[in-house]
């Protein structure tokens, strides 16, 4: 919830935001009214991917940044299953 509060405040201050949420907290963006979220199928504590899976981490960051131009609430599932490189 912490990031949901901050993300809302930053968006309300006029700065577009996007958050990367793990599936266990995939309900947070909708319930808290967060503007944009990418939900990853990763375990808690590894939101962008497994340690040293630079390819996945980078792809998640890229995909999340692509959501910033959305002008309505957007909550998208990244989709790919967690993997150990």
């Amino acid at each position: 919830m912490s990031v949901g509060h901050v993300q809302r405040a930053v968006e309300a201050a006029g700065i577009p935001t996007v958050g990367v949420y793990v599936a266990s907290f995939g309900h947070i963006p909708g319930l808290m009214g967060v503007a944009r979220a990418l939900v990853t199928q990763h375990p808690m504590g590894r939101p962008l991917g497994a340690p040293h899976d630079a390819e996945r981490q980078r792809a998640v960051v890229r995909r999340s940044l692509d959501l910033l131009s959305a002008s309505e609430q957007t909550i998208t599932d990244y989709g790919e299953a967690y993997r150990i490189p």
């Binding site: 912490s2 990031v3 930053v10 968006e11 201050a13 577009p16 808290m32 009214g33 962008l48």
Partner: protein, 233 residues
């Protein structure tokens, strides 16, 4: 004679109890029946891994039940304590390749020499942070600034609310400072603000909503942030 441990006692012991394991603290929220299914599936997956050495199945079982533990036991969404029915929405003023990007994660990272020293204690261990989780949940969070070019050997992470081993092994699982630098260098994003930010998300929700969130939003505006990437853990 001590009372025998119940299944509920066993489930709860993984959440800051005698068997504390932050990857599995969700077990406290499962029903006893669900806990039985979890164990059955986990043992079957471990059984399978004994012959092929592939732990993917066990990881998947742990992941799926973690999701069930958190998302499957919310109760009535209308009663969700931090529910908001409005959605603040801002509009990009320029394309991404001209925008200055900020990064804020709730991972609990900080740079060596800039320990936020919770409760005034220097060099608190991860174990102590877990042991004092209830105190953290009553306190205001501290925002730690981390230069985007900080060397990984100077990064520290401590957070009593989630399993930090992955974030300690490779900070970019939650603090993607290197990836954002690369995207800037490739021209995908325009620029980065001077520092990335991290805080311990296990803090007073009231203080975050009322004080820290609005204050940090002003801070991001003051340093010329065009868009912000958030990474909760």
């Amino acid at each position: 004679m001590d009372k025998p441990e119940s299944i509920e006692d066993l489930r709860r012991s993984f959440s800051y109890g005698s068997r504390s394991n932050l990857n599995f603290k969700f077990l406290k929220d499962l029903s006893d029946e669900e806990f039985g299914h979890f164990l059955e599936q986990l043992l079957a997956a471990v059984d399978s891994s004994m012959d092929d050495g592939d732990a993917t199945g066990a990881i998947d079982v742990a992941f799926r039940w973690q999701v069930q533990g958190y998302s499957g036991h919310l109760g009535d969404p209308a009663e969700f304590r931090h529910r908001h029915d409005d959605v603040p929405l801002a509009t990009m003023s320029k394309p991404l390749n001209e925008s200055r990007v900020a990064l804020i994660t709730s991972s609990g990272h900080f740079i060596d020499g800039d320990d936020p020293q919770p409760f005034g204690e220097p060099s608190m261990s991860q174990q102590e942070a877990e042991d004092r989780i209830q105190e953290f949940l009553r306190e205001a969070p501290t925002l730690s600034a981390i230069p985007f070019d900080a060397p990984s050997e100077q990064l520290r992470v401590r957070h009593g609310g989630y399993p930090v081993r992955a974030a300690a092994t490779d900070h970019q699982v939650a603090l993607p400072i290197g990836h954002l630098q690369a995207l800037r260098d490739e021209g995908i994003i325009g620029d980065l603000v001077p520092d990335a930010y991290s805080f311990v998300g296990a803090a007073s929700q009231l203080r975050i909503q009322r004080d820290a969130g609005p204050a940090w939003a002003e801070q991001l505006k003051d340093i010329g942030t065009d868009v912000a990437l958030f990474v909760p853990v």
